[in-house]
């Protein structure tokens, strides 16, 4: 089988605390006929986009990655981390909108080539929707997630700012569409686009646990048994901080949080070891066994 190569930008988290996301994404891609080619040279994107108008300096790190991608002859990169995708897209947008800014930034590149503005940044979820197609994905499903009631959770950076969103900022459907393609039942929730607490997981732990509770509890009351999400930081907050919320709210029980790639891997009946379920605070295995999708 010949694989179509995709240039892949990982980012720091995918190499450390989100190895499960990377491993499952690579496996899915292979099953669908694609292979991830990791960029030969990449650096931390800076994680948050620089927002003040005079601050160009913090666009240097993201831009450098786009230059490396051009150097490798690509016209697009696939990204797994939501925060990286957002940051890279915001820098790309800024230099597209301002030739002056691009010129200033290029003048700082001592060793690198100038950025020509040719790289498209594609989040893997977008790739699955637009290039593979959920209908195509559905055909590959071997173990439909029948009877599994899942709340899709988007958080912030997939959807905002609007200019870099992968779907409608207020009424996204990409995750529900994906869940239905996998055979799962969607439990909707108005909190699906609210912030998980983000980096306040470090300096405001309790407030972040309360966020996890707020986001999950409503869907739980409506019968959700699991959460599907995409960002490693959302995953940590809805899993670990959500678990801690059990101590704050009496009777509350956190439900497991899956990366979309984990659920796809299960539905496609791929090697479950790649899912790395043992690193999660809320063990998803009992639920999956109960539904008969894993043994």
């Amino acid at each position: 089988m010949r694989f179509m190569e995709l240039l892949y930008y990982p980012g720091c988290t995918l190499k450390t605390s989100a190895k499960d996301l990377e491993a499952t994404a690579i496996k899915i891609a292979e099953e669908l006929g694609y292979s991830f080619k990791e960029m030969e040279e990449w650096n931390c994107c800076g994680v948050v986009a620089s927002l003040t108008s005079d601050d160009l300096m913090h666009h240097l790190a993201p831009l450098r990655n786009l230059i490396h991608a051009e150097d490798e002859g690509a016209d697009k990169i696939v990204v797994l981390c939501d925060m990286c995708a957002n940051t890279l897209k915001q820098t790309s947008l800024r230099v597209k909108e301002s030739k002056d800014d691009l010129e200033t930034l290029n003048s700082f590149m001592d060793k690198e080539n100038d950025y020509k503005g040719t790289i498209e940044i594609v989040h893997f979820l977008e790739f699955l929707r637009d290039e593979v197609g959920f209908a195509q994905l559905k055909k590959k499903v071997k173990k439909p997630l029948k009877g599994l009631r899942v709340m899709p959770y988007y958080g912030c950076v997939l959807l905002r700012p609007r200019e870099v969103a992968i779907d409608d900022a207020e009424d996204p459907v990409i995750m529900s569409d994906l869940l239905r393609a996998l055979g799962a039942e969607v439990v909707d929730n108005p909190f699906k686009i609210e912030c998980c607490g983000s980096y306040h997981t470090i300096d405001e732990k309790e407030a972040t646990s309360k966020r996890a509770h707020r986001i999950t509890n409503f869907a739980r009351d409506r019968g959700a048994e699991a959460i599907m999400l995409s960002c490693p930081l959302c995953r940590f907050n809805l899993d670990a901080r959500g678990k801690e919320a059990e101590k704050i709210f009496e009777g509350y029980e956190q439900i497991p949080a899956f990366y979309y790639t984990q659920l796809i891997a299960i539905a496609l009946d791929l090697d479950i070891d790649a899912c790395g379920f043992d690193s999660q605070e809320v063990d998803p295995l009992p639920l999956l066994k109960d539904k008969g999708v894993v043994e």
Partner: protein, 144 residues
């Protein structure tokens, strides 16, 4: 009994605000291009803010304080609690990007070399488990 490790690493307990001689609005002009005076105090930003319950000033109050040149806004917890989620910016009927205004207010302080982030409150296990994107973004927001 709570140990240091169980406490939040709050960075904004003290008064951090540097002295600003001119009008706040003028200082902010260099950092963002938002029409802050356009705010008509509808409260939409506050209604959808995920951290509003923890805040001492609601996002709409922050804007009002800036308009009235009440510099104590620089000592509010709100500007540090804002996680740049862009919900307010997305919804403001006056098209004000409040997320950018919050960043500009933080930058007013950070650019005077004032920062207080400390992650010593975390256990070694937590340092291993918390995603790297959390650390980098916290440092970017709280240090500069």
């Amino acid at each position: 009994m709570s140990t240091a490790a169980e406490k939040d690493c709050r960075h904004n307990e003290k008064n951090l605000a540097p002295e600003i001689k001119g009008r706040l609005i003028d200082e902010l002009e260099d950092l963002c291009e938002e029409d802050i005076f356009g705010c008509y105090q509808c409260g939409t930003c506050a209604a959808g803010c995920p951290f509003v319950e923890e805040m001492d000033l609601t996002p709409d109050e922050v804007l009002r304080y800036v308009i009235l040149d009440k510099k104590e806004v620089l000592n509010s917890r709100t500007i540090w609690l804002c996680s740049s989620c862009f919900a307010c910016a997305e919804r403001c009927p006056r098209d004000i990007n409040i997320t950018v205004v919050m960043e500009a207010l933080r930058q007013l302080i950070l650019r005077k070399n004032v920062d207080e982030t400390d992650i010593e409150c975390l256990t070694e296990e937590e340092k291993r488990k918390i995603p790297q994107i959390a650390f980098v973004s916290l440092f970017r927001k709280n240090i500069g």
